[in-house]
Amino acid sequence: MQRVGVFVCWCGSNIAGTVDVQAVSEALKNEPGVVYSANYQYMCSQAGQEMIKAAVKEHRLTGIVVCSCSPRMHEATFRKTAAAAGLNPYMVEIANIREQCSWVHKDMMTGTEKAIILGKAAIAKVNLNAPLTPGESPVTKRALVIGGGIAGIQTALDIADAGFPVDIVEKQPTIGGKMAQLDKTFPTLDCAACILTPKMVDVAQNEKIRIFSYSEVTDVHGFVGNFDVKIKKKARYVKEDICTGCGACVEKCPMKKVPNEFNLGMDNRHAIYIPFAQAVPKVATIDPNACNMLKNGKCGVCAKVCAAGAIDYKQKDEIIEEKYGAIVVATGFNPISMDKFDEFAYSQSKDVITSLEFERLTNAAGPSAGKLLRPSDGKHPHTIVFVQCVGSRCAACAEKGKEYCSKICCMYTAKHAMLTRDKYPDTEVYVFYIDARTPGKNFDEFYRRAVEEYGVKYIKGMVGKVVPEGDKLKVQASDLIANKQLHIDADLVVLAAAIEPDKSARPLATMLTASMDTNDFFTEAHPKLRPVESPTAGVFLSGACQGPKDIPETVSQAGAAASKVIGLLAKDKLTGNPCVASSNELMCNGCSTCERVCPYGAITYIDKEFRMPDRTTKIRRVAVVNPAVCQGCGACTVACPSGAMDLNGFKNSQIMAEVDAICK
């Protein structure tokens, strides 16, 4: 029999407000095995932990039950406390009487009653606990960064800086991501290319960093410290190591009418292309859907003009297999489709554009060489209407918009409006906004400058309808402050489209077994305390894949993710989770059922010699679990027909005891 100590936490009034903590500790005093029961304001505090340690010594406790907040919150804390008191840390059980009791029940009587039952269940379980010792596994000292935008670039640079090799996998032919498409950046208005491209060059020149551009992760296996990853390097039909990026092939390519995705289809590129001048790697790529040579074997001009002989029409997709200790997800975002918002006539007029298209229109490397001209007729627009929150904060219809605030639109729209007024003072600029959300260093000052110094007309209200007629866009909108409906004849309408996670994120999350929220943003291990870690050990989050973010936030999160990766890779060995499966070989009948259900291949079969009661020996086939590979899901324990397989920490007998305690 264990000697169990029960510690009931008040959590200030968080628990004590709806649970009579005194009554709980009194009621649990008489449970089997309990030799000590107490309550205290904050069990997790220094004083609370000291109290536990003292009780362990004084009452020679062998098991501890803490009735407190969720084990997801403080289980680790109390395990450390137990270890410090000389107990095995796995002799601690938590009864969750805060998140799952005091916070969800209103009245003291029901709260107290339930807390007592949860406490009894934990006591029943701890009575059957056994000391556990975690196994160890080695760490592969190499990191994988998925996504080569500013988030991935910064993470990779920081990890490489600490001396660990890093691979970046980017699905586009170049790294750089969305930031490479931007013109200026708020609130300082430095040019995006000027601050990004040096970092891209750093990445290219860093000998610790390898770039797999035009590549995708296709398979991930393993666990923290030991991931096995397959990367598909898509055929670009150009030998990357030979191509010098001179661009002769691009110049001569006869297929000139391919919509240029880098400029969001506002101009054309060739079938063989380098996305932009500062691309990294600066290597040409052939678009197989546009190239005549690849489609029907007629052409071959690029191969003829390539002095280096880098063109290879026979190139095939290549699969690279590599081991990694840590994986950073930096898959970023995209603006949502405007298909469902045709009240703004996006599909009907070329002069209704998204903000990202506006970035390209004002970018010196963009389709109009930096001159702000209407896409339809190339004329200078004199009246521009910016519409905020298109698809953001939209709870009406899930197929249409996003319920969340996209966070970056208020600031980039202020930037667009300000820059337009600065460069073209004869232009009238209206911004329709619901709320101007500008929390951030120097952000509100920036937005106010757009209004006060640059004369941008901010109107609280929304645009309801845009009607293209003649060469004007008739904008019908509300001005809530003046209580008027406005009719503006605009030349250009710019929609601040909501942003959403990249479509590649969902299948990637499945591969990584990393969880996502309902919007397909990756979930962090804890929203406040572990913001750059995924709940899946060894997987880290960087940038907008976790939620909408601007550049400064992305860069700081990228650095934080890198430091977590460095902390992991700096270890030689990882202590594993001791809550793994184990087979009772006396009961095992060697049927292989467990082997088939194990998703990790952690179970193997060996032939083992047994001494029989009649003193003969017999060789039997029995299951053996590799504790370093087992992740402790328990699928095998249920599949096992003879009941030989059990899960440490969640034994059949323990869960059964909990059921009994609850159903008493």
């Binding site: 799952q100 039952i117 609850i662």
Partner: protein, 144 residues
């Protein structure tokens, strides 16, 4: 303590990664559900042995609900698929034994779905309460 109003006894098995976290989130957001629901934490929904459920009914539980990650999102890749198949078989057997379908349920609740967790528990508790006490499998020897 004898209360006049009938209170069902509901056991909820929640996987550690999604549903238990979802239940915590319901708590963080103070989304109420009946205190009749008692949660047992398991690493994965596939850890739930049909024996546990039978035991719960034997000991007088009125309803048992198993919550796991959404299909495709299992922390252990495929555990919830096992759960889905195992429970389909078990529930049809329980149905045969006279334990109504509404007393057993499998739900997918992610770590981000606190509201769904509370709504699911409210709904389940209501349906179970409507069925009244479950005596079919109760083992009277277990009663004090």
């Amino acid at each position: 303590m004898q209360v006049n109003e009938y209170k069902p006894l509901i056991v909820a098995f929640c996987c550690n990664w999604c549903s238990y976290a979802g239940a915590d989130l319901a708590g963080n957001n103070r989304l109420a559900y009946p205190a009749d629901v008692k949660i047992i934490r398991v690493p994965c929904s596939c850890r739930v042995n049909p024996m546990f459920i039978l035991r719960a009914f034997q000991r007088g539980a009125d309803g048992v609900i198993i919550c796991g990650c959404h299909p495709g999102d299992c922390h252990y890749t495929s555990g919830n698929y096992y759960t889905r198949r195992r429970m389909a078989a078990l529930f049809s057997m329980l149905d045969f034994l006279g334990i109504e379908r509404a007393r057993t349920r499998v739900e997918w609740v992610s770590a981000a779905e606190g509201a769904k967790f509370a709504a699911t528990m409210n709904d389940f508790a209501e349906k179970v309460a409507a069925l009244g006490e479950n005596k079919r499998l109760e083992d009277l020897r277990c009663k004090k």
